[in-house]
């Protein structure tokens, strides 16, 4: 591409009932979507609201909807997603829009809490260090889910979240799955109880949109399937 090429970028402006505004941004080599948004704010409209922090795919704060698909914008190259020099950038789906590209992620983290996403210690600092076999089936299952950066992309990609406002969503359920598999956790049945039912893992329809879009290549669909299995086992044994 030449330096003279210009991108036509539609960016969402306003709140829930906002609309798209078109900007023209010079196209550069190795340019990311976040670079485009930053250019617009620095050079064209300082009022544009968006969120980012680390710029290197660690913090999970810059996720947006690019051409209808949720993406981490700091690690998404324009050359991979622009079609005929056009881009559409909108806030993440399934969360209230505050303004422009910024969503209110409160419900996302609130559901994390409702899924009991926090570790319940079974020992104190005075006990010896727990020894966990890294090759055990449970630890392997937990390891597969622990790289989540809470970017909200899976939550925005999920249609079940859109259809069922109470649904905990892939990220919170994936987190619960890592704790259910953590032998040091003191309340694994409590985690299972929190994710059972219509707001939890049993609402999942295996669309696999979460796994398809997860930038960290995690597989929440598999985690949720694991929760379905464990909750059914627990219920059949009368323990749920």
């Amino acid at each position: 591409m030449s330096e003279n090429d210009t991108l036509s970028v539609d960016i969402w402006r306003g709140g829930e009932d906002g609309s798209f505004q078109t900007f023209h941004v010079p196209q550069r080599d190795h340019q990311t979507i976040l670079d485009v948004v930053t250019y617009v704010q620095k050079k064209l409209d300082p009022a544009l609201a968006y969120r980012f922090a680390c710029r290197v795919g660690m913090c999970g704060s810059c996720a947006m909807t690019v051409n209808g698909e949720p993406r981490w914008t700091c690690r998404t190259h324009v050359s991979r997603v622009a079609r005929d020099g056009k881009l559409t950038i909108a806030p993440l789906r399934n969360m209230p829009v505050i303004r422009d590209l910024v969503t209110d992620m409160t419900p996302f983290f609130e559901k994390w809490r409702r899924a009991t996403g926090s570790f319940v210690p079974s020992a104190t600092r005075h006990d010896p260090m727990a020894s966990v076999d890294p090759a055990s089936a449970e630890r392997t299952a937990a390891d597969e889910g622990i790289e989540c950066i809470n970017c909200g992309i899976c939550y925005a990609a999920c249609d079940v979240v859109a259809w069922n406002l109470d649904y905990l969503g892939p990220a919170a359920l994936n987190r619960a799955w890592t704790l259910v598999n953590d032998e040091r956790d003191a309340d694994r049945t409590g985690h299972l109880r929190a994710v059972a039912g219509d707001a939890g893992c049993h609402a999942c329809h295996t669309h696999q949109s979460c796994s398809t879009y997860c930038p960290k290549a995690l597989n929440p669909t598999a985690a949720i399937a694991g929760l379905k299995r464990r909750t059914v086992e627990a219920a059949l044994k009368g323990g749920l």
């Binding site: 559409t88 249609d159 694991g226």
Partner: protein, 115 residues
């Protein structure tokens, strides 16, 4: 206005759509199916008149559609049971394609017998 959504164009989502359409279709068909079969004893003549009507090629085609729906719901359901109750496998796309193929083959077998 609403921002566009483009997250539904992948095989597992198509599998879901097919499973939902076939499920609802079969649920609607089921009461009719039972109702017609219940005629067999008391109203055999009426059942035979109905079965004669089903010889119509268009009805046969519609029946082939039902066979495909049933086979698709079976194959899709088996895949979901495997996802939910067996260890995860990465080759979901292959299983989805296999299920679709099974449904089409079932429909073709039906048509071969019907005509």
């Amino acid at each position: 206005m609403k921002p566009p959504v483009a997250t539904r164009g992948h095989p597992a989502y198509w599998a879901f759509v097919l499973h939902r359409i076939s499920g609802v279709g079969l649920a609607v068909f089921l009461p009719l199916h039972f109702y017609v079969l219940a005629m067999a004893v008391d109203e055999a003549a009426r059942l035979d008149r109905f079965l004669a009507w089903t010889e119509n090629p268009l009805v046969k085609l519609a029946e082939a559609g039902l066979v495909i729906l049933l086979a698709a719901h079976l194959a899709g359901g088996l895949r979901l049971l495997a996802v939910e109750f067996l260890p995860w496998r990465d080759r979901q796309k292959d299983y989805i394609a296999l299920g679709g193929g099974f449904a089409v083959v079932a429909g073709l077998f039906f048509l071969l017998g019907a005509f």
